[in-house]
Symmetry: C2
């Protein structure tokens, strides 16, 4: 008889995977090439080199190398907080009365509070290796800014974070945390860049947006000596780094002979979802698995479930390269009442391709239902989930309840990408019932679609 | 040749200790009995039974049973978040350039953010087992209130938390977290108790104090059917529960053949320190170890280093039983400028006895130095420490730097009892250099000493 599965499935330090897995290498239909916005030709290393570090650029453009060795200097970084726990949700199963087995990979035990650190570390490492002295980035809710501040501090690089102004005012403690790690934080839009000045001239009281913050961070990077820009999601090199999530999960599950039937992740830009599913999706593409994969997005920003598959810009200012992806249009503005951080108009190109080809399912959820699932989860499992991660909890509970009806003992795995320590104002609004839901009308979506460039 | 020690020293689930260790059983000089404040005779089970649950009462009065089996229902609870990581501070060692080996036991990966959950779980478990339906408690900084809210929710008990009013206003997110777990939070002083009403009548605008909150919580418990009061530190049953920290640490270190030479913990009421050192102190008392033990307290509230060893009350209202302990007097009011939560006037009786008998050293630190150590630590080790825990970091760094001078390869172990997610306003004041230090004058201490009862 098999031994009882422990509540936490441990990997010892020497079992932490030493390679990232590049899912694109195993895809029959690969994601379409990224295009230069001026020439509409596939971007080259040279095109990207003024903005990004070379290590990540090479990874971004490499869709053939299956396994990429994690450099020793990054393995050191990972050892400071990994492996992340893979947890059997015994208490949730009991609460639901489901015959399903539920597991979740929890990426929130590091101080940044989320999986973002898995790519922040590598991006800072490559910058240091390439002789750079500083980096720039932007942050919205603050998880990526915190992760980059930690990574830059660790590798001894200066970091400037452009934080969406309204966020920096609403989340003074996020700001404090980023500054405590030694990064310079500038509320965006700011008078320190041309992009910021232009916006401020039009609207001095604007609260800012992620799109503007990206423009400021990129401008600062290209105008500064030995400085580059780093991005925390959407791009394929970020997904590559995040494959450590799936690699660890699979190593731990394989150790105990567990094969997930359903794998669930929340989807904003796609880095957490893409990282978690990578090795399992590779098996599915190879015909070795019948697992189902489910992306869960907010009903307020439904890029998978109601978006279009098209070449689009990554930022609202339309300055980035063009990516073929599921998109609501770079001009789509999600309702401001949404609490979580899954507010990006587009989606990673690899995941978009998998969705098109039927490998990946998607569903959208309204936030009050998501918070209901979050509170149910935290009361029995103990962990306070980030609102983003709670989208995955919602779908996991729904699937477990279907198993209860059909009396099937399926194995459900979901990604718990982070903690909600800095999202308690959202929990307050859920607790006191002032939280509302917004589902964009077709007309609202149409306005966004009109901003998608016409490229065949 | 010995294998390299991993960064994180893991225990598998079946290696989690199944007994608490009752250090008092092995002490030659045991802590003095707790006295009834009316009769001045040792308290009995019956004296305490109106206020506390019976399980904890029996543990409180038991100074002879060495190992106490952890009930299965509590082991289940512990498995939801334990073992806590024991981490080799390779990065800190490198940063300091010390030949010392530094290890820390990190209790902050659970959502309550600290070690408090280790006793909250058992106290809720015993209440449930004894047929109670509700509990009351108080909280200052909020860690204990969060832990009790999680534990009460887990075991299906109602909980009322009296939170010091100024804290509940300064820390709305702590309040939100406690309420999200389903507990009822009442800012103290409140009009819901006689104790609260009396204070409000004198001073309607008071911000409250821990002493008043205790009085309200106890009053509510004794006046409510099937309700008892729970306390998060100071008492010996709390230290017993916290011995899981030391038991796990020793199990992991023994697995790798590591023997600490210096063991360091921060000290407020003493539960974290007492729990960490318990099994190692047992060895020292038995003459099997020469390890040194160091308690680190804030210079603003120096109960070990400048207090008196005397019978004193646990609360400012002088209603609790009398405990022989190191104390500044229940009337001592620590400077309000102190950021951390180590503001209790007294100290656990077991630790006080060990200090008297020379087994335990103590030192005090001003907070700006403590935060300097915290920031140095977090930049290389990644973890944001609670200000309380950072007192231990300060001493660990100081000891490691002595090893650097003397070129000794000592093994230093310290307790990192929690995270600083809810203390970022203190980090902000450190960052912007508005943080100040206060060391009480002899005259200020004398005022506190005058409130100690005259008992021979």
């Amino acid at each position: 008889m098999a031994a009882k599965i422990p509540t936490r499935l441990y990997l010892s330090e020497d079992e932490i995977p030493k390679c990232w897995y590049n899912l694109r290498a195993d895809m029959k239909n690969k994601p379409e090439p990224v295009l230069h916005p001026g020439t509409l030709k596939p971007v080259t290393e040279a095109d990207l080199s003024a903005v990004f570090c070379m290590g990540p650029i090479k990874q971004e453009l490499d869709d053939t190398t299956r396994f990429i060795a994690i450099p020793e200097g990054i393995q050191d970084f990972y050892r400071a907080y990994r492996p992340a726990p893979l947890i059997r949700a015994y208490f949730l199963e009991k609460e639901l009365g489901t015959p399903a087995e539920i597991y979740y990979k929890f990426e929130g035990t590091n101080t940044s509070g989320s999986h973002k650190l898995n790519s922040a570390g590598p991006q800072a490492y490559y910058a240091k290796e390439e002789g750079l002295t500083s980096l720039t980035t932007e942050t919205g809710a603050g998880q990526w800014g915190t992760a980059m501040a930690m990574a830059a501090g660790f590798y001894g690089l200066d970091l400037t974070v452009f934080m969406v102004k309204v966020s920096s005012e609403q989340k003074p403690y996020r700001k404090a945390l980023i500054e405590t790690y030694g990064a310079k934080l500038i509320p965006s839009p700011s008078a320190t860049t041309e992009a910021g000045k232009a916006i401020l001239a039009k609207d001095p009281n604007t609260g800012g947006s992620l799109g503007v913050a990206i423009s400021e961070a990129v401008e600062r990077a290209v105008k500064t000596d030995k400085c580059r820009y780093v991005l925390g999601s959407v791009l394929n090199h970020v997904l590559l780094h995040q494959s450590i999530i799936g690699q660890e999960t699979k190593a731990a599950m394989d150790k105990y002979g567990i094969k997930p039937d359903i794998i669930i992740g929340c989807a904003g830009g796609g880095s957490n979802l893409g990282g978690l599913i990578a090795p399992y999706m590779g098996e599915k593409i190879a015909g070795k698995s019948n697992a189902r994969f489910i992306a869960v997005e907010p009903a307020s920003c439904p890029s998978f479930t109601r978006g279009r598959f098209a070449y689009d810009f990554g930022d609202t200012a339309k300055t980035t390269p063009l990516v073929k992806m599921m998109t609501l249009g770079s001009g789509f503005i999600p309702s401001s009442n949404h609490a979580g951080g899954l507010r990006y108009h587009g989606m990673n190109s690899t995941l978009s391709r998998l969705y098109q080809d039927g490998y990946l399912e998607a569903r959208s959820e309204v936030q009050t239902n998501v918070f209901e699932a979050a509170v149910k989860f935290m009361k029995v499992e103990g962990i306070l989930p980030a609102p983003e991660s709670a989208h995955a909890i919602k779908a996991a509970i729904d699937e477990a309840m279907i198993c209860k009806k059909t009396n099937e003992k399926k194995v459900i795995l979901f990604g718990l990408s982070g903690t909600g320590y800095f999202d308690l104002s959202a929990y307050m609004s859920y607790n006191n019932k002032t939280m509302t839901d917004h589902i964009p009308t077709d007309e609202e979506l149409e306005k966004g679609f009109e901003t998608i460039p016409k490229i065949v």
